[in-house]
Amino acid sequence: MRIPSPREIATEAKLLLIGIPVLIWTLLPIYHMVLFAISPKESAFSGKLWPDNPTLHNFGVVFRQEHFYLHHFWEQFWNSLVIAVATGVITLLIATAAAFAISRLKVKGGRAIMNLALFTYFIPAAFLAVPMYRTMGLYGLLNSQWALILAMVTIAAPYAIWVLKQASDKLPVELDEAAIVDGASPMQLFRLVYIPLMMPSLVAVGTYALLLAWNEYLYAFLLLSKDTNVTLSVALGNFLAADDSPWELLMTTGLIYALPPAAIYYVFRRYMVSGLTAGAVKS
């Protein structure tokens, strides 16, 4: 083994001097949450770095819905899931169709529609929340999960269209021409050529919309209010607002709620990072 020179050691030490604070900063709130989730009620506030008797008891309480605030846990989990999946699927359908029409079929006015979508993308989501809430009331959709699904599609679609259009512009025109010469109809081109080639971007965009809807809090609490139809995020918010909320259960529920999106993110990280960062800001 080669002995590193003092200079190399100094560089390594400097890197560690950045790396360790970054690690602590990143993990502290998450670790704190995990610590609460595995601590028995009495020792949750002991301030220890690791509980004396770590336990999964809190998870059992949440899964068996054994607390007043958790009576609808599974229902709310299911609501979050349905709304997230529906948002992902509908966003994909709408955005893929639109991106194909704009980028490959060169539909008239496509550019204008792309600009409208971009404009929507740049409206801060919280600014549209109140008008959207009132509008959903007018449409009679308040308290229906469709309200949240449609609102999430509205917010996710512009970015989805934009990313898909960027990706689809990169496909060579010769593909379309070859398909046409072979007598393919636009829909055959869409199904047989376009969709397979766009798969990586479609995965990225679908995941993006799914996570957006799963994580959403503001729109969810505005548009849904019944204990049985709210998402887990709203339930957590209500939980937090209560004075007597048992923190260890709140943290356990929060951790369970945070795990699926984190897992999905890491599974699709390859697609997400290239698809989304390349799309997010074009240099």
């Binding site: 709130p29 506030f45 971009l118 549209l128 109140v130 021409e177 636009p186 960062t277 800001v281």
Partner: protein, 290 residues
């Protein structure tokens, strides 16, 4: 960039012009779903919102409300301080993360976590950490100094500062990731040439890294400002706008007025922000739409 290269294709497809009509028809059919979404859930709510906030008295009311004025100031402070701090840290950290080390690669995987997990549970966790009596931070302060730590969320200045930290914690990974991508796209031979010329590390940053990143850096800053205007969670879930409604920003103020059943003020507060938002949006659209 690729989109520019594609523009001539519209004219390049002359041999298939006979197909134009069915292509256009299918194009229309495929684009209609999004247009419907846009009309019903963007255009109509915006129009309806402006109509609800149409009366001039609304704005007179708004500017007489000290909480509104305070929120505008908070929003500006939030944008200017938090975003610039965040982007500067992201720029520095991107330089750290491009170092070729296995442990740094692993660290970068963990570093994404705040962005990958939903904000509610982590903000709750932070809120408990900051609890003046039982929170881990004040316990630590007490153990080290035998004095009580500050009441973090009960002082409007500290509370807003904490909300900014929460925002930075949550969104720093995303911007760092983008700046890492930008740094990695700078050709190596530029750095090699600089080394041959005897450039110091700072000179390399000043004359190689920064010139190729500054456009992106500005774009990122502006985009982050637009998005942060809509950052409801960092403030609402941490401080709830309190104490005494002194830490509201425009994103949470709208919800406060809605709760008080003052929809016109709620939307008015957003309309007032338009002179700030629209130039930023215009800038971004010019940047991104080609």
């Amino acid at each position: 960039m690729s989109s520019i290269a594609l523009n001539p294709t519209g004219t390049g497809r002359t041999p298939v012009s006979a197909w134009r009509t069915p292509w256009q028809a299918w194009g229309l059919i495929l684009i209609v779903p999004y247009v419907l979404v846009f009309v019903f859930f963007v255009l109509y709510p915006i129009g309806y919102g402006f109509w609800l906030a149409r009366r001039p008295e609304t704005y007179a009311h708004l500017f007489e409300d000290p909480i509104f004025v305070r929120s505008v100031v908070n929003t500006l402070v939030f944008l200017i301080v938090a975003i610039n701090l965040k982007m500067m840290i992201a720029l520095l950290l991107s330089g750290f993360f491009v170092q070729a080390r296995t442990w740094i690669k692993w660290l970068s995987v963990l570093f994404i976590l705040p962005w990958a997990v939903p904000s509610i549970p982590t903000i709750m966790s932070l809120r408990f950490m900051l609890n003046p009596e039982w929170g881990v931070i004040n316990q630590l302060i007490f153990r080290l100094t035998l004095e009580d730590g500050p009441n973090w969320l009960n002082d409007p200045t500290i509370a807003l500062g904490m909300a900014m930290l929460v925002h930075i914690w949550k969104s720093l990974p995303f911007w760092t990731l983008i700046l890492i991508a930008a740094r990695l796209s700078i050709p190596d031979d530029l750095y090699e040439a600089a080394s041959v010329d005897g450039a110091t590390r700072f000179q390399k940053f000043r004359f190689v890294t920064w010139p190729s990143m500054q456009t992106l850096y500005v774009t990122c800053t502006i985009l982050s400002m637009i998005w942060t205007l809509g950052d409801f969670n960092s403030v609402y879930l941490l401080t709830g706008g309190g104490p005494g409604d002194l830490t509201h920003v425009l994103a949470t103020l709208g919800i406060r007025y809605l709760r008080l059943d003052q929809v016109d003020l709620s939307i008015g507060a957003i309309v007032v922000a338009m002179p700030l938002v629209l130039p930023l949006v215009y800038f971004m659209m010019k940047r991104l739409s080609r």
